[in-house]
């Protein structure tokens, strides 16, 4: 199996999407484009992530703006689009007296698979998420980690084009969380299923997503590939062997009139074009300072998030 094929049609496109519930505005003009792979919907609790997932499923129509999922309006397409989507809700309270295999089979049948195929694929999906031996256990006897895996299994069993995972690591301990993230990555890269996951945890989005849409106060604050988002900074960072060497470099940059910051062995020079690289290298050479690292400054997603929130 391979990673999802890059498709000329984006998975989801929203243009000025507005959604109101009475006097409360959940989304206030969200514009975004989501491509194949794993995309994180990132935002604080109440930012509008779950509302957006509901709109991807066609459960709510936008009050204003347009939304397309797999090339069609999900609210209009309804049943046709949902047959090709998988969804794992945030909550953990699945029917306690139902066996995991029966539950996954039932959801696969709901998505249009014939009974025999649904039974076979339910079993396969549970094996793939690591619950092969546990598949005939009632879900009420399972741990939170196992139930999260069952939710993932039911989302993929019917071979969807895209799965929507709402806070898939909620309630998991660090080990379970790492395992679940690995599993989601595997779903995308090995099984070839596109994933949109909502999360308020920056590091997990950074860890497994190819791209992110950062939402705050119902708006899209920024979006793009993780690489692009982390490369948003326009600075050069140079790490020198000693604090004195860094001070000497900072002094020379000051004389040349280049904006910079000096933090112990690190000097951050404003600008990221080739000439700034060259000047920084030359200044270091002139100061006789040994360079340990010279690169574009990398931002963490947290830096980006906090910067966007202002």
């Amino acid at each position: 199996m391979s990673a999802p094929n890059p498709s000329p049609t984006p998975l989801a496109v929203g243009v000025d999407v507005v959604k109101r519930y009475g006097s409360f505005t959940a989304l206030s003009g969200a514009t975004f484009t989501i491509h194949s792979g794993i995309t994180g919907l990132l935002g604080a609790n109440g930012a509008g992530k779950t509302t957006l997932l509901g709109m991807f499923l066609g459960l709510h129509a936008p009050d204003e703006g347009t939304l397309a999922v797999l090339g069609v309006d999900p609210y209009q397409a309804g049943a046709d689009i949902r047959a090709h989507l998988g969804y794992a809700p945030e909550h953990h309270t699945l029917p306690g007296d139902v066996l995991a295999a029966d539950f996954v089979r039932h959801v696969a049948e709901l998505h249009g698979l014939p009974k025999a195929e649904a039974t076979s694929r339910a079993s396969d999906a549970l094996w793939l998420v690591g619950l092969g031996e546990e598949r005939f256990r009632p879900m009420g006897t399972m741990s939170t980690g196992q139930r999260q895996r069952v939710k993932l299994a039911q989302a993929i069993a019917h071979d969807p084009t895209l799965i929507l995972l709402d806070e898939p690591t909620d309630g998991l301990d660090p080990v379970q969380r790492t395992d679940m993230l690995h599993l989601i990555r595997r779903v995308a890269t090995e099984f070839g299923i596109n994933v949109i996951l909502s999360s308020h945890l920056l590091d997990e989005v950074e860890q497994i997503c190819d791209a992110a849409v950062i939402i705050g106060d119902g708006r899209v604050l920024t979006e793009g590939s993780i690489e692009d988002l982390r490369g948003t900074g326009s600075d050069i960072i140079v790490e020198l062997e000693t604090v004195d060497a860094a001070a000497a470099v900072a002094s020379q940059l000051q004389q040349l009139g280049h904006r910079h910051q000096h933090l112990e062995r690190v000097v951050i020079v404003s600008g990221d074009d080739e000439s700034v690289f060259d000047i920084t290298r030359d200044v270091c050479a002139a100061a006789g300072a040994g360079i340990e690292r010279l690169s574009r400054r990398r931002f963490s997603l947290e830096d980006v998030f906090l910067e966007q929130l202002g």
């Binding site: 459960l59 049943a79 047959a83 699945l94 793939l128 709402d166």
Partner: protein
């Protein structure tokens, strides 16, 4: 000889999908099976099968009488088809009090509603499917015993005479069973839509039936109010409409309670409850 385990990996599915029709059929089947306790532990089977069995008991008793004591049957000891509903009225409202909460409240409490609405089903088709499941289960009790009763009596020579008379009775049986099943289904679903706690919904449904009978009795028999207040009785009203469907007077005098008022009351309650359920589900938040 050695065995090898092959990892089948993740397989694509390129076959046909059954779409909305398949999803609805799956939900109806699953709901009926769940309600009857199939694929569940034994304790979940006790109440539904006991109530269904009790609903069939009078039919089997009278059939035994007709078979082994035909002279008793000829003396009019066997009840009319329209009277059968009265004999099993307790089973009817007990059954709906357990079935509707089991099928509606659990889906909201466990978040299954969100999973269903992420499938080809939407709120309306989900409700139609659930209604079909509850209605079908109710028909087991409203139509099943009476139809068995009719078929067996006919075979023993106690049924209607002539092809058209048989057709007429069959039509009346079907209509009365459908009306009563729809009435109880609507009430049970309306009460179950107000809470996601199964026990609360069951108690509420039982309370509505018993309470309505008590209030109606108090107003008409106790305080001497108009006999139209009998129509508040959610158990007796559909039971007394059944004889009218068969062209019989029933226990309520036609002069006091004309058929059209009883029909209108049953239709109004059924439609009102159905509208209420629809409204509740349109407003419900489901994505969490």
């Amino acid at each position: 000889m050695t065995a090898e385990i092959f990892d089948r990996g993740y397989r694509r599915y390129d076959g046909e999908r059954t779409g909305l029709r398949g999803a609805a059929k799956t939900l109806v089947t699953h709901s009926i099976q769940r309600s009857l306790g199939l694929h569940r532990s034994a304790r979940h089977k006790i109440i539904p099968f006991a109530l269904i069995a009790f609903a069939f008991v009078p039919a089997l008793v009278f059939l035994g009488i007709a078979a082994f004591l035909p002279f008793v049957a000829e003396e009019g000891f066997i009840p009319k088809y329209s009277e059968y509903y009265g004999l099993v009225s307790a089973m009817l409202f007990l059954f709906i009090s357990f079935v509707a909460p089991d099928l509606l409240c659990n889906d909201r409490r466990t978040g299954m509603l969100g999973v269903y609405l992420a499938s080809p089903l939407n709120r309306n088709t989900y409700l139609v499917s659930k209604t079909a499941a509850v209605f079908t289960l109710m028909l087991i009790i409203t139509l099943g015993p009476n139809f068995l009763f009719f078929a067996a009596l006919s075979l023993q020579g106690f049924g209607p005479g002539g092809f058209f008379a048989v057709l007429k009775v069959l039509g009346q049986l079907l209509l009365s069973a459908v009306v009563i099943a729809a009435f109880f289904t609507a009430i049970g679903m309306a009460i179950s839509s107000t809470t996601d706690r199964k026990g609360t919904a069951t108690a509420g449904t039982l309370g509505a039936f018993v309470g309505s009978a008590a209030i109606s009795g108090l107003l008409v028999e106790g305080l001497g109010y108009s006999t139209h207040f009998r129509l508040l009785n959610l158990i007796a009203t559909p039971m007394q409409l059944a004889p009218r469907i068969f062209g019989e007077p029933g226990e309520w005098l036609s002069s006091e309670n004309p058929s059209w008022t009883m029909g209108a009351a049953v239709v109004a309650v059924t439609a009102g409850c159905a509208s209420f359920v629809w409204y509740r589900y349109q407003k419900m938040s489901v994505t969490r």
